[in-house]
Symmetry: none
Subunit: 362 residues, 2 copies
């Protein structure tokens, strides 16, 4: 399979990396050439040659036409990008990854795009970071990927895109664009604004109050760090279903505030109980094979060269550190580094670090 | 130091485990003897002997009096437990771990407790799981631990509890009970109800909708899985400050719903922007003031020694890497290391890494 990825942000580059792992040839393009170059440096594929003025139906004489073009641009840019790619004859079939589906479908139809070769799609995966550097080949492992073919879409195109989704490790779910948009309003778009509204209360809060923040506040507000421009587009394109969920959440919170003020905590308990039942219904991060690493904690001093010595000791023991997280308490002369390694390498790492005088903990 | 932990739930057992790691002698008690036994089996200490009818001021003839009693029971039970422990002469000084501070302080005063030996406390750490089996010795590492001494509290008692907090690896922060309660309303109690209200929308949602849920919804709603009984107590004990935050969040969400319905996404963008600014102010895991770092991204190969060479190059340039995050795509030969450094050191680091042949991006 040969795939062109148009838009090398977080999602486009992650698709490209996932496909590259399965030997798929990938071409990369982005309106920001630096983003495409970084994606290429990460091993996501090769930059798509500039079409130039006399472009024919092929990417280049030596390359030919792609089997699939993945359009990974913001929702309101999907239709125009699809029209341009189809005019250029870039690929045999097309998909997109936008978080709303009715808008790009209706715009594509209005622009006269060929709908038989277009399979609207939406991988339910993301991160609060964006850009190619945040991309991960395993972003879609075990995740749902909605496919919302239009009535005109050919089954052949659906089959091809279904194969691409499976190659990325995701689970294809076929639905229609209207149901998709209603459902993601509940599970993705409304939660984003709820997180933003909670985070907004922290914007002018005393620093001493925020010093008391624990993991709970960080989790509730994490996604509010997302890109405002992109999210405004998404919310505007799915306004009615999102507004419906938000109005219900707002009413419950206003009622909880009233009940607390009136000293009626029993009714607050009812909301907590319903919330608990709701959480229990949300599926976990299913499928996919999370890699099993063993964490080794080591106390380090906060000084230049300390990490070098640590990694040097690990390297000399032949241990490849897969991930590292460092926890510092400001003002304290030490921190804790948590090193993730393959289970078989935890023993040698512990021995090497202990021999080097570091306090360690498995 | 010899410590008695009264209440071997998540927090009490975690305190005990953290103290045991530093060789502290710990006695355990719980109204549920099975919970105390499980905590003892986990290595958290030894069960406190039953006082019996003729109890004197000592735990037992062979043990003597504890230096500290940590009262780790629900907020409304703190004062009575403190009074009983003081009547028994269990310890030289006392602290609690309840999430609200004005309620136990006023109740303890009303019960005639000795306030000079009581240092009200609150570790800002927790999990959505509860019970001794969920306890972790590292639960408090780098976390803030509020201490709210009353005017009568002796400095000697404060010193002793401060030592205990530091022994658990936490960062003590001294404040007064009223300010504490106002601040945790914002950073802990209101977020809990916001998570519950969002989760409540999922309680009766179609399963197909929940199948589309990603990590965002899971994070926003995670803490709503907490214990309803405990949280109802906490919210009731801090009703006014919590209600104030909730009313403001509810108003913002109701307004966002209205603006979306009226097709005015620009005002939604304002809420998203304020939310983004709010998230940015929440300190990371290490607590304390957020330190301003610049992130440098560098593409690395997945092989032993690569990180050593990287840190070595940074060290030779005199740059202290404050934090590092590594993103790997499984199976790919490269990853991205994100290095956090003081802004003034970003330039020298970029130059050093580029000279070493690494592809970098600021």
């Amino acid at each position: 399979m040969r795939v062109a990825v148009i838009g090398t942000g977080l999602i486009g580059t992650s698709v490209a990396l996932a496909l590259r792992e399965h030997g798929v040839s990938v071409w990369l393009a982005d309106s920001d050439p630096e983003a495409a170059r970084l994606a290429a440096n990460l091993g996501a594929g090769v930059p798509l040659p500039d079409p130039g003025p006399e472009t024919g139906p092929e990417i280049g004489p030596e390359i030919g036409r792609a089997d699939v073009a993945v359009i990974a641009v913001p929702p309101s840019a999907v239709a125009a990008t699809l029209a341009a790619a189809q005019a250029r004859g870039l690929a045999s079939c097309y998909t997109d990854v936008a978080s709303v589906k009715q808008l790009p479908v209706s715009q594509a139809r209005a622009l006269g795009c060929d709908m038989t070769s277009y399979v609207p799609g939406h991988p339910l995966a993301g991160r609060e970071k964006h850009g190619p550097a945040a991309a991960r080949a395993d972003l879609f492992l075990g995740r749902t990927w909605a496919l919302c073919p239009a009535p005109e879409t050919s089954e052949q195109a659906v089959d091809t895109i279904t194969t691409l989704v499976r190659t990325c490790g995701a689970v294809p779910v076929r639905t229609d664009a209207a149901a998709h948009d209603r459902w993601v309003a509940l599970v993705s778009h409304a939660p984003h604004l709820v997180a933003a509204a909670m985070a907004a209360r922290c914007e002018a809060a005393p620093a001493e109050a925020l010093d008391l923040a624990g993991q709970g506040l960080r989790d509730v507000t994490r996604i509010a760090a997302g890109d405002t421009g992109l999210w405004t587009q998404i919310l505007a394109a799915n306004a009615e279903p999102v507004a419906e969920v938000l109005a219900a959440v707002a009413a419950d919170l206003a009622e909880a505030a009233r009940m607390l003020t009136e000293g009626d905590p029993k009714s607050v308990a009812t909301l907590l109980d319903i919330g608990q039942a709701g959480v229990a219904r949300i599926p976990g991060k299913h499928g996919g094979a999370p890699r099993e690493f063993t964490a080794v904690q080591v106390v380090i001093r906060d000084q230049p060269g300390e990490l070098t010595r640590l990694f040097d000791a690990a390297g000399r023991a032949g241990v490849n550190i897969e991930d590292v997280r460092i926890e510092h308490s400001p003002g304290l002369p030490v921190g804790v580094a948590e090193l993730s390694v393959r289970p078989a390498e935890a023993g040698p790492l512990l021995a090497a670090l202990e021999a080097g005088g570091w306090p360690v903990r498995r």
